[in-house]
């Protein structure tokens, strides 16, 4: 297979996640390994930022501890951190000459056998979610066309990731809304059940359930469900108050 064909196939593979079941870890691993297959690169890895801005390795072409540590150290300094902060491509053509730039990272990268590094942002408009790190055993830099191709792969993966996040957030919100609505209904129904069983008015029924929920440190809606199902009796609620 020609390199162009391989590259096209990789695009399809990454974009496929937009229409089929989605495994984040798998997409990121695919992206990292394809970079090593397709370009003059000896190691590749992805870091994604959490909500607090901490960087985490989420996919690597090599699962060696030493390689993974190279990503970890970049929470303090390194091309990924710079790339994540600026949203711009970061290039270091000779790590042996870059001790001033990143003292710890440069030392560890050279010890791991690497001489040059580039970091490509994972970005959609202003939203930078991480960076793709490309390591080489020789000094120098990737040809510009290869950098474009890497950026394009990172872009497709970024869109897939953001899409997946958005869908999950919406689903979660919808579930919470539904739960909250059900809770409201259940609490009203339980007030009616308790009012009848304990022969108290609605306000008193509500106070009994709320007092029990507070004393036992449980959620009011769950007390309401227990009242309805008869797991918590009226007399138990009245003892407590």
């Amino acid at each position: 297979m020609t390199r162009e064909a391989q590259l096209n196939e990789t695009f399809v593979e990454l974009a496929d996640t937009l229409v089929s079941p989605f495994d984040v870890a798998d997409v990121l691993h695919t992206l990292a390994t394809r970079c090593v297959d397709l370009f003059d690169v000896d190691g590749a890895g992805l870091v994604l930022a959490d909500q607090a801005g901490g960087l985490h390795v989420v996919g690597s072409s090599v699962e060696q501890t030493r390689m993974l540590e190279l990503f970890e150290v970049q929470n303090e300094e390194g091309p990924c951190l710079d790339c994540y902060r600026t949203g711009e491509l970061v290039v270091e053509e000779d790590l042996e000459q870059s001790h001033a730039r990143w003292p710890s990272f440069a030392q560890e990268a050279v010890a791991a056998g690497f001489r040059s590094v580039q970091a490509v942002p994972m970005r959609l408009r202003e939203d930078v979610i991480g960076a793709l790190n490309l390591f080489r055993q020789r000094p120098g830099r990737l040809p510009e066309t290869d950098v474009y191709a890497c950026q394009a792969l990172a872009d497709v993966a970024t869109i897939s990731l953001l899409q997946d996040r958005a869908v999950r957030e919406v689903r979660l919100l919808a579930e919470q809304l539904q739960l909250a609505l059900n809770n409201r209904i259940v609490i009203e129904q339980a007030k009616g059940v308790l009012s009848e069983r304990a022969d108290v008015d609605m306000d008193a029924a509500f106070s009994l359930m709320r007092g029990y929920a507070r004393n036992h440190n449980v959620v009011l809606a769950n007390v309401a469900r227990d009242v309805i199902d008869g797991r918590v009796s009226a007399s138990v609620l009245q003892q407590r108050s």
């Binding site: 869908v167 919808a174 909250a180 609505l181 409201r184 009203e188 129904q189 007030k191 069983r197 809606a221």
Partner: protein
């Protein structure tokens, strides 16, 4: 296209109801933009119990009560099928899909009813209900606007829920629980009185309401006041 339509609609909403919170704005604005008499944003629970978030007028609020009493109607159908329900003339034989709803809705002043699902992919939240006091179909342009307004309402409902504590409804989503609470409390009382399930209790309240030509809310008040007791 959709983006332009949304921008245009938002501009009109800002003009029609400049000072209302977003979900209210959509509800009130929908009535004006779609040339309908009234509109309601209704959330639906897993048990198919509607909860009106906001209604543009009193006539629009009646529909929730009516459908809950009868267990049928355009909103329930839209909710169950996930598809828009369009009924331009309730007096038509075609409205026979909900005979009792149609009869009673006409009595409350509705002649055409439309229910657009509030949904996003597989996620369903509720229904945007619209009615007209005179018969008449929505034009294709109004229908396109209606779908876009429903999509905007869906996004706003989710936004409103984003700030809420776990298990609580988001700010502005609870609507008016004074009347609705009474029906659910009465359901609980009936369940306890007769030793039946909540679903059974709701069915009995509905049957009583239907049999006596009253709303399920009115029957609920009587149950709570102990003026009536449903029989075994």
């Amino acid at each position: 296209m959709a983006r332009e339509r949304r921008a245009r609609l938002q501009e009109r909403l800002d003009h029609i109801a400049p000072n209302d919170p977003p979900v209210q704005q959509i509800c009130i604005g929908s009535a004006a933009i779609l040339a309908v008499t009234g509109s309601t944003v209704i959330l639906m629970s897993d048990e198919e119990i509607g909860a009106t978030v906001v209604a543009s007028n009193v006539g629009a609020t009646a529909v929730e009560d009516l459908q809950f009493t009868l267990g049928e109607g355009p909103c329930l159908q839209a909710w169950r099928t996930g598809q828009a329900v369009l009924e331009p003339e309730l007096l038509d034989a075609s409205a026979a899909r909900w005979p009792e709803f149609s009869r009673q809705a006409v009595a409350t002043g509705a002649r055409a009813v439309f229910a657009l699902p509030l949904q996003l992919g597989a996620i369903r939240l509720g229904v945007l209900y619209l009615y007209r006091s005179a018969p008449g179909m929505l034009s294709s342009e109004q229908l396109a606007d209606g779908f876009e307004l429903a999509a905007m309402a869906t996004a706003l409902l989710l936004d409103a829920q984003a700030g809420a504590a776990q298990g609580e409804l988001g700010a502005g989503l609870a609507g008016d629980w004074t009347n609705r609470g009474i029906v659910h409390q009465a359901t609980g009382m009936v369940a306890a009185q007769l030793g039946v399930s909540l679903a059974d209790a709701i069915a009995r309240l509905r049957a009583r309401a239907f049999g006596t030509g009253r709303s399920v809310y009115d029957v609920g008040v009587d149950v709570l006041e102990r003026r009536i007791r449903l029989e075994e």
